[in-house]
């Protein structure tokens, strides 16, 4: 009996959705630990931002990992989500859910418009077009004072969800739930009908087109998902921090999100989470605390920049690839099986 139970448990553990839920449950312990004073509130905040950036980076990973497109507008769309959430909640007083919905829908629509214009030519145009949209949005955040209060910064409050007045710890749990849902959604997209089209597109655009895949449509879909995730991340950012300043939404946030995807490993959900941790939390929690090095200005930039370059040059699979290699080295296999596995891997790649 016990053996069948353990076999069932092992099978369940291999299910990605179960893994996501276990991760979520573990993360939900963090606010409890913080309430008991075991971890610092500032650490909890840092981890909260890691999870928010992980959500945003997962959207970019769909775009970058499957369609090979770069968006430099992530920060702009995230900021737009944040300001819309604040405006709908605090100025229009329509409540949390309407604010969240607006922060998801409006950036996505703008994203689709930008995609329609720029994706028809060459993939690199999307990067340039989103760079300029990002500049336009940043200018809007600085100038449209009725909407954003300009450089003075928009202040907001913790939302009321289902009649509960939330606080920082409660919002952390909301972020965890959003993260788990986003992980499941991403997993389902990648492993469903859409994912197959995206995979086909990745190996050869022309071949995929010949097989009847509408390349433009799927590129547009991937970019729309990236902006949707960015809008969600922006709204969560606002509800977690309760303020938003134009200077937060500059190009370097967009570059950092790209760094998270690259460092974590393309097309890997857990890798992206790890990448977000390395890029955001390591400078914040570790580098700043170092004796001499910690005081150097611009250190986080150099850290992210060098990581991007080194990972692309030497570890194209990122942290996910490293983890795979370690796992491979730790599990002894008969040689014939590994050879077969390699062939299968080659065939499915």
């Amino acid at each position: 009996m016990t053996s069948t139970w353990s076999a069932a448990a092992r099978r369940a553990l291999k299910n990605s959705h179960v893994q996501f839920l276990i991760l979520g449950a573990a993360l939900l312990l963090l606010p409890v630990l913080s309430a008991n004073g075991i971890i610092k509130t500032s650490t909890l905040s840092t981890l909260g931002f890691v999870l928010i950036y992980a959500i945003v980076a997962m959207g970019l990973n769909l775009l970058l990992g499957y369609s090979g497109l770069i968006s430099l507008g992530t920060a702009g769309f995230m900021g737009l989500g944040a300001y819309i959430a604040a405006y709908v909640q605090d100025n229009l007083r329509l409540g949390f859910w309407v604010a969240l919905l607006a922060a998801l829908v409006i950036p996505t629509i703008i994203g689709i418009l930008v995609g329609v214009v720029s994706l028809r030519v060459r993939s690199i145009y999307l990067a340039i077009a989103t760079l300029c949209i990002s500049e336009i949005l940043l200018k809007t955040f600085e100038q449209a004072e009725w909407f954003t209060r300009g450089t003075a910064g928009k202040q907001s409050t913790f939302p009321v969800i289902f009649g509960i007045h939330t606080d920082r710890r409660f919002m952390f749990s909301v972020i965890v739930i959003a993260l788990v849902l986003i992980m499941m959604l991403t997993h389902n997209i990648v492993h469903g009908h859409l994912g197959r089209a995206l995979h086909a597109m990745r190996s050869s655009e022309v071949a995929a087109q010949a097989m009847g895949v509408n390349v433009l449509k799927y590129k547009l879909f991937a970019f729309a998902m990236a902006t949707l995730y960015a809008g969600l991340g922006g709204a969560l950012y606002l509800f977690f921090l309760r303020s938003s300043y134009p200077s937060s939404w500059n190009l370097f946030l967009s570059l950092n999100v790209i760094a998270m995807v690259v460092v974590g490993g393309l097309r890997s959900i857990f890798g992206t989470l790890a990448g977000a941790f390395v890029i955001f939390a390591v400078p914040e929690l570790v580098l700043k605390e170092l004796p001499v090095v910690g005081d150097i200005p611009g250190l986080p930039y150099i850290f992210s920049g060098i990581l991007i370059v080194v990972v692309i040059m030497f570890f194209p699979q990122g942290l996910k690839g490293l983890a795979d290699r370690v796992r491979h080295a730790l599990t002894p296999r008969p040689p014939s099986v590994t050879k077969d596995a390699a062939v299968v891997q080659e065939a499915t790649r």
Binding site: S118, R120, S123, I124, C132, K139, S204, V206, P297, M313
Partner: protein, 290 residues
């Protein structure tokens, strides 16, 4: 109508954008990398110029020479240590590397040159020529001349010299060029160094209008990229044309449209323009072969 004055001012900023755009297109044609770090590499060597000038009191021309040396070494280093080793990386991978380089230079500049914003004086501090209704400062005239002379000089080099032929051959087809005995690696190295010097010149020209901070080249970078989009990536002269057009359009939109939103309106107009002519003004159709 006061048309001459804004037109002259546009020629000045257009020269800055043209130099930066030339660097981007040189790198694009020879290494097939979209050079997102052109602005930040220009920022870095431009900051080096300001640093030498402010710290040692060296004359501007000597500081600029030093900046050119920094730019050349930087270009060599980037191509030699990074870009050349990326032959197997995907096109996106190369782009992302230049994005990573932005962050490296952005972080390095305050460490090496200090966090305080610096000032860079004009090459010619005072004096202007009167052209009927409009005035043109000697410095603006110099900037316009530098832009035109450097761009024209580069075209002569590209069209008439052996080096230019090598660059054009590499741009047209890298592997064929290599088979024909052209040292394509050296050509690429040269292109990165030239892009670095062009970026430094753009930085020194735009610096007197602002302060030298890590982000002072952002507008130049965006405008130069757009100049390439507008002019098309297939020729060397297209982006230069695009740069001057963008400068003129930007100045007139700011003057007669909105002083705050001029550039933003311009960006949107260029995006709309892409719908009509996706390959740019002088671009040829780009065919992707299987």
């Amino acid at each position: 109508m006061e048309l001459l004055q804004p037109l002259l001012r546009s020629l000045e900023t257009g020269s800055v954008y043209a130099l930066a755009a030339l660097g981007i297109i040189l790198v694009w044609r020879t290494s097939l990398v979209m050079h997102f770090a052109q602005g930040s590499m220009g920022m870095f060597s431009g900051t080096a110029v300001a640093f030498v000038l402010n710290r040692t009191g060296a004359p501007l021309w000597l500081s600029v020479l030093f900046g050119a040396l920094v730019a050349v070494l930087l270009g060599f280093a980037v191509d030699f240590a990074v870009i050349r080793r990326l032959k197997r990386a995907t096109a996106v991978g190369k782009e992302i590397v230049t994005l990573g380089l932005i962050m490296v230079f952005l972080g390095l500049a305050p460490i090496l040159f200090g966090t305080d914003p610096m000032l860079l004086p004009k090459a010619i501090p005072t004096g202007d020529v009167s052209l009927g209704v409009a005035n043109l400062s000697y410095n603006a005239l110099l900037n316009i001349m530098v832009g035109i002379v450097v761009a024209a000089g580069l075209f002569v080099v590209l069209q008439k010299t052996k080096v230019g032929l090598a660059i054009r051959a590499t741009a047209s087809n890298e592997s064929t060029a290599r088979l024909m005995g052209i040292p394509t690696k050296t050509v690429t190295l040269l292109a990165w160094a030239m892009a670095g010097v062009l970026g430094m010149l753009a930085a020194v020209m735009i610096a007197p209008t602002t302060t030298v901070t890590p982000t002072f080249m952002n507008t130049v970078q965006v405008s130069a990229l757009f100049a390439c989009v507008l002019g098309g990536f297939q020729t060397f002269y297209g982006p230069v044309l695009g740069a001057y057009l963008i400068a003129v359009a930007s100045n007139f939109l700011k003057l007669y449209g909105s002083s705050v939103w001029g550039d933003q309106i311009l960006y949107l107009l260029i995006l709309v323009f892409l719908l009509v002519r996706p390959n740019g003004l002088v671009g040829k159709t780009y065919l992707k072969k299987v």
